[in-house]
């Protein structure tokens, strides 16, 4: 084996004996899937089946200005590319 290969083999072998607590650390952001459960159900919460007053709101008059938390983000590039 070359010196480089020996060094790599040693580094990999060392990884196997690091304490488990030291292995997985580092700012993990957890994304809980509660809202994802049951997604394939018929929509009951929004009652899209109920009544005709809400039928077919098909038009292009949807609000074209974002109104979420994106206004918290500042700086950086403001255009693509």
């Amino acid at each position: 084996m070359t010196t480089t290969r020996i060094a790599i083999a040693s580094a990999l072998a060392a990884a196997l004996v690091l304490p488990a607590a030291a292995q997985a650390q580092g700012n993990m952001e957890k994304c809980y899937g509660v809202a994802k459960a049951g997604k394939n159900d018929c929509q009951t919460a929004t009652s899209s089946c109920a009544g005709t007053s809400k039928t077919d709101a098909q038009n292009d008059a949807w609000i074209s200005v974002p109104k979420g938390v994106c206004d918290k983000l500042v700086g950086g590039k403001t255009t693509a590319g």
Partner: protein, 251 residues
Amino acid sequence: MPLALRDLQAAFAAHLLGADRADLTAEVFGDTIPASARLRVYRHHVFESLGAALAATFPTVQALVGADFFRGLARAFVGQSPPDQPVLAEYGAGFPAFIAGHDAARELPYLADVGRLDWALNLAFHAPAGGRLAATDLAALSADRLPSLRLALAPGTALISSPYPLDRIWAASQPDAPAGTVDLDGGAHLLVLRRPDDAAFVALSAGEVAFVTGLADGLSLEEAACRADSGFNLSVAFARLLGLGALAASQ
């Protein structure tokens, strides 16, 4: 003359994503509620249900732009790219690319990348949880065999890179995020993972990105390690990937 069943079904499908059709309304009873109104209930339901599914799959995108804007974006996408399979959790693969090409999102150039992160988290969440390689699985191998091992990423594991700080954007979009602004400068390399009970992501260094990309490309551990920069700590990175459950158990 009544439509044949096949033509009736085709007309109904076209109606759902398109405009009202006289040949279809002529087939539907309109005694108490006009036939066109009856039929629009179905179209409304399709767009509402698929829009709700997209909102569940892309919660960070929705948080960023708000529910009204998202509904319009989703409606445009649904009309252009209806599902081609029945599982709602698997619907929306093309949504990030759609966002990237949409005029309305031009002012938010990071939005498509946020969509890619949401989609990767969705795939991870629905990926099988088992089959992770652990350090103990390799303990029986002699050290000189480790460099030539080829290890695949575990199901649901994905690397998402962006010129925008997706981790900070994601954090700022959570319901319990603190007030205050977030600096958009700086990119991010995130490794999305299937965890035992959820999906998650961690930030990777440039060396780790090169190493993981090499493994994903089918390189051996040695070859992948040689792709990383000189400051790369192979022991720490390999131990971290094993600890995270990012690697698939060997066959």
